[in-house]
Amino acid sequence: MTEVLVEVKELKKYFSFGHGLEVKAVDGVSFSIRKGETLGLVGESGCGKSTLGRTIVRLYEHTAGEVLFKGKNVHELRGKEVAQFNRDVQMIFQDPQASLNPRMTVEDIIAEGLDIHGLARGSRRERVTELLQLVGLRKEHAQRYPHEFSGGQRQRIGIARALAVEPEFIVADEPISALDVSIQAQVVNLLEDLQAHRGLTYLFIAHDLSMVKHISTRIGVMYLGKLVELAESGELYAEPLHPYTQALLSSVPVPDPTVKRERIILKGDLPSPANKPSGCCFRTRCPHATERCAIEEPVWREVRTGHWAACHLYAD
């Protein structure tokens, strides 16, 4: 068993809108991320996957539960520990246009973390050059501004910035969703190479299931703030247990006209996260829903070794 790097226990993040209105964006999620693996997180918009990622890296205060990074509760870190955590954990964002300051040169963007943490003093420029080359950009690019780059190149700058402080763990929130297909593969290969050479651990958040399957060691599926299933990526795709995962996988259009699959078309829409159904939150769209699902919330349990699911179909 490999070492666990991040452990999430019953994590909750609620957003309050006053008047008793509350959105339970992340509602009691537990899982762990092993050192050196890529954990993929999939789900539809509004399922809480980005909130989960942001709460793990302390961009959001948590409501309840805990996140342990190398055994330490990240929401209770103080002083120097916070600075160290911010070095160890970095984030790559979805929109490379919005996440780079348009008024800073690429050199300043990449070196911002170095400056804050007092790294690479005296060798700032060399370090930036090295990082640029690492992500497939050139030395001359350092003096340019973000608008002078294409989407794929901007995402490379975002990756170089994340790598500057030599993190161990990177949360990548939809890092390729804004890119064209032919460019997506470039960025995914870059992320894979970096992982191989530097032993990085990724939390890879995305809604593109084929890309998540490609890059992930294990995959978690979220629905309305809950984790509904978690398994090795091959197993999840071959034998999905939860009815939501089954429907999600069957909905992905296959780029092959000779493949004719049995599609599970879900009825209706995602319920509002502010007003979730009782019991199992998926029951309103589930083809297998029974009375029990409305009354009792299914338990998150290990159905097979390493394969977790929360569904009454697999209760004892």
Partner: protein, 340 residues
């Protein structure tokens, strides 16, 4: 001869004036759509696929845009030569349009029922009651439950998928012969996308519609289309039946697109990206626009744009590799096929 198609686009060229100069967004695009078929135009952002769709609808904002050259012929009538008034007669009644983002496509201050029949009322003189009846009928057709009640609601009371159904209902209100759908499922979640694709397919079959779908997703193409047109940097690089293009892609760009996609089934393999980026359309290259990223590029590719080569069954690709004088073509095609 070309006039027997429902829609023919012939050597279309569209430019946009900007502060930085003139962008040649569409640079000589030709294809057609027949009655009762679904044609998909695929390509990456900036390849000119949406501009082509807008040109068909007469929606190119002019200025800054202008159609420099080429003809668009719909049912034997030349759209590109029509007056504004003539265009209004066709738009909405003969050709319907489905946009990418259903929230911005709908008027937030107008009840959904009225929006749906706005065009219908304009094109046919009908009473209020009749219009309302038609709206409810259309809502039912696109699978919106409780249509009587929903017709009196506003767009914000609908979810994303339901809104897209409303947009489709609007496009179908006047029983058009052709529906142009520009990235109709891109803004939607995958389970909702499956619902909408199913709906489009059902409506297409039931009503004998012709559909022109613009998308960047090869998965969507394989699900829904009969024929496909692959665009790159403002030109068509390959076209043919979906079956032919997927099983025997003939253009290096199409090979590249297919190789860069991860597959849900099958073993994990390293992705093969297309290196580099698309050319700058302010100063498009003189030769084949893909040459700079093409692993098989030859001298001629930089100098002259290749003409389409036909492979039978309407399958065509514009690539110098298929010129009889090109070397090693068999091995190259075989190499391309291995990657499927």
């Amino acid at each position: 001869m070309a006039e027997q198609h429902l829609l023919t686009i012939d050597n279309l060229k569209v430019n946009f004036k900007t502060y930085g100069g003139e962008v040649q967004a569409v640079r000589g695009v030709s294809f057609h759509v027949d009655k009762g078929e679904t044609v998909a135009v695929v390509g990456e952002s900036g390849c000119g696929k949406s501009v082509t769709a807008q040109a068909i609808m007469g929606l190119i904002p002019a200025p800054p845009g202008r159609i420099v050259e080429g003809r668009i012929v719909f049912e034997g009538k030349e759209i590109t030569a029509m007056s504004k008034k003539e265009l209004l007669e066709i738009r909405g009644s003969q050709i319907g349009m489905v946009f990418q983002d259903p929230m911005t496509a709908l008027n937030p201050t107008m009840k959904v029922g009225r929006q749906i029949v706005e065009g219908f009322v304009r094109h046919h003189q009908v009473s209020r009651e009749e219009a309302q009846k038609r709206a409810i009928e259309l809502l039912r057709m696109v699978g919106i439950p409780d249509p009587e009640k929903r017709a009196d609601q506003y767009p914000h009371q609908f979810s994303g998928g339901m809104r897209q159904r409303v947009v489709i209902a609007i496009a179908l209100a006047c029983q058009p012969k052709l529906v142009i759908a520009d990235e109709p499922t891109t803004a939607l979640d995958v389970t909702i996308q499956a619902q909408i694709l199913d709906l489009l397919k059902r409506l297409q079959e039931e009503q004998g519609l012709s559909v022109l779908i613009i998308t960047h997703d090869l998965g969507v193409v394989a699900e829904i289309a009969h024929r496909m047109v692959v665009m790159y940097a403002g030109v068509v690089v390959e076209t043919g039946s979906v079956k032919d293009v997927f099983s025997h892609p003939r253009h290096p760009y199409t090979w590249g697109l297919m190789r860069s996609l991860p597959r849900l089934d099958g073993e994990k393999q390293r992705l093969v990206p297309i290196e580099g980026t698309p050319p700058d359309l302010f100063h498009p290259p003189k030769g084949c626009p893909f040459a700079a990223r093409c692993e098989f590029a030859m001298e001629i590719c930089d100098r002259q744009i290749p003409e389409p080569t036909a492979f039978g069954g309407g399958h065509q690709a514009a690539c110098w590799l298929h010129d009889p004088r090109a070397p090693r073509i068999e091995e190259l095609v075989a190499a391309g096929r291995q990657t499927e």
